[in-house]
Amino acid sequence: MKETNRDESADRNFESFLSEFRPKPAPAWLKERILHRLGEQKHLESAFTPAMRRIAIFCLVFIALMLSAELIMTKSETRRIQALWPPAALDSRQPVEDEFSSIWAEWSGLSTYEKSLFSLRAAEKKTSHQSQGSGVYWQIKILMEELNGS
C-alpha cells in the first residue's frame, strides 16, 4: 500500500516537473510561408493547364457549330414544309372544312364495296402521307386522291 502511494506521489512529482516544459513557439515566418504556399497551390489547382484550355475552347466551338447547324436545319425544314403546304391550308380552317364537306358528299354516294376498297387503299397510302404531316389534312388528301383516281 505504502509502495503504491509512494509511486503515485512520484508520478505526480514527475508530472509537475513535466508541466514546466512548454513547446517553443513556431518560427514567425512559418505562418506566412504556409498561407502563401497554400494560396499558390490553390491558384495552381484552380487554373486550367494550357492543354485543358485548348480542349475547353475546342468543345465550346464544337457546341456552337452544332447549335447553329441545328438552327439552320430547322429553318430550312420549316421553309420546305411551308412550300409543300402553304400556311392557308395549314392555318385557316375554312378551306379545309369546305373541301371536306364537298368530299363528304361524294363519299356518301359511294357503294359499300367502293368504300371498303377506298379504306384499303387509304391504309396503304397512310404511311407515306403520315411522314409528311398529320391530322385532318392528310386524310382529306388521301380521300381527294382516291376520288380523283390518282
Binding site: 514546466e20 516544459f21 513556431a26 505562418k31 498561407l35 497554400l38
Partner: protein, 167 residues
C-alpha cells in the same frame, strides 16, 4: 472557419506535434502544409464537429503516417534517437538547458506510441478522451501508454534505462 484563423488556433501545436513525430522541422512544415491544403480543398462544417481538436490531430496523425509510409525506404530521423533528441530540444522550452536536454533524451528514447501520447497530453494539452479519439485507440490504452511512458522516461532520466518496457 478561415484558414488563417485555423492556423492561429492550431497551427503551432500541430507543427510541434509533427516535428516530434517526424523528427524533422522541414518534414513537419511539408506535412503541415498538406494538412492545411486538405482543409482548404474540402469544405468542412466545423460547427458539426464535436471535438475539433481531436479531429484536427487525427487528420495530422493520418497525414504524418502517410508521409512516413511514403518514405519508409529512406532513413528517417524519427527512428534515429540522436536526431530526434535534437529536434525535441529545439522545439521544447524548459526551466534550464540541462533539464531540457535530459527530457529530450528521455523522450527520444521512448517507443513511438508512448512518445506520441506523452507529447499530445503534456505538450499539446489534449485530454485522454481526445487523444483516444485522435489516435483511434481506447481511453484505457491511451492511459496505460501514458503511465508506461512516464515510468520509462523517469527511469531514463534517473539513469535506469529499461529496454524491455511494456508498450
Amino acid at each position: 472557419m478561415k484558414l488563417e484563423q485555423l492556423y492561429d488556433r492550431y497551427g503551432e501545436r500541430l507543427f510541434h506535434y509533427l516535428s516530434v513525430k517526424l523528427g524533422s522541422l522541414d518534414d513537419a512544415e511539408d506535412v503541415l502544409q498538406e494538412i492545411f491544403l486538405r482543409f482548404a480543398r474540402y469544405t468542412i462544417r466545423w460547427k458539426f464537429i464535436r471535438k475539433p481538436e481531436a479531429f484536427i490531430f487525427r487528420v495530422a496523425r493520418n497525414e504524418a503516417n502517410r508521409f512516413l509510409q511514403n518514405k519508409r525506404n529512406q532513413k528517417l530521423n524519427s527512428q534515429n534517437p540522436g536526431a530526434l533528441q535534437d529536434i525535441i530540444q529545439e522545439t521544447i522550452k524548459g526551466p534550464d538547458q540541462g533539464s531540457t536536454e535530459m527530457l529530450a533524451r528521455a523522450l527520444a528514447k521512448l517507443p513511438d506510441e508512448q512518445r506520441e501520447v506523452i507529447v499530445l497530453k503534456v505538450f499539446e494539452g489534449l485530454t485522454f478522451k481526445e487523444i483516444a479519439s485522435a489516435c483511434g485507440l481506447s481511453i484505457n490504452t491511451v492511459a496505460s501508454r501514458y503511465r508506461y511512458g512516464l515510468a520509462a522516461m523517469k527511469a531514463i532520466m534517473e539513469g535506469k534505462d529499461e529496454r524491455n518496457q511494456p508498450r
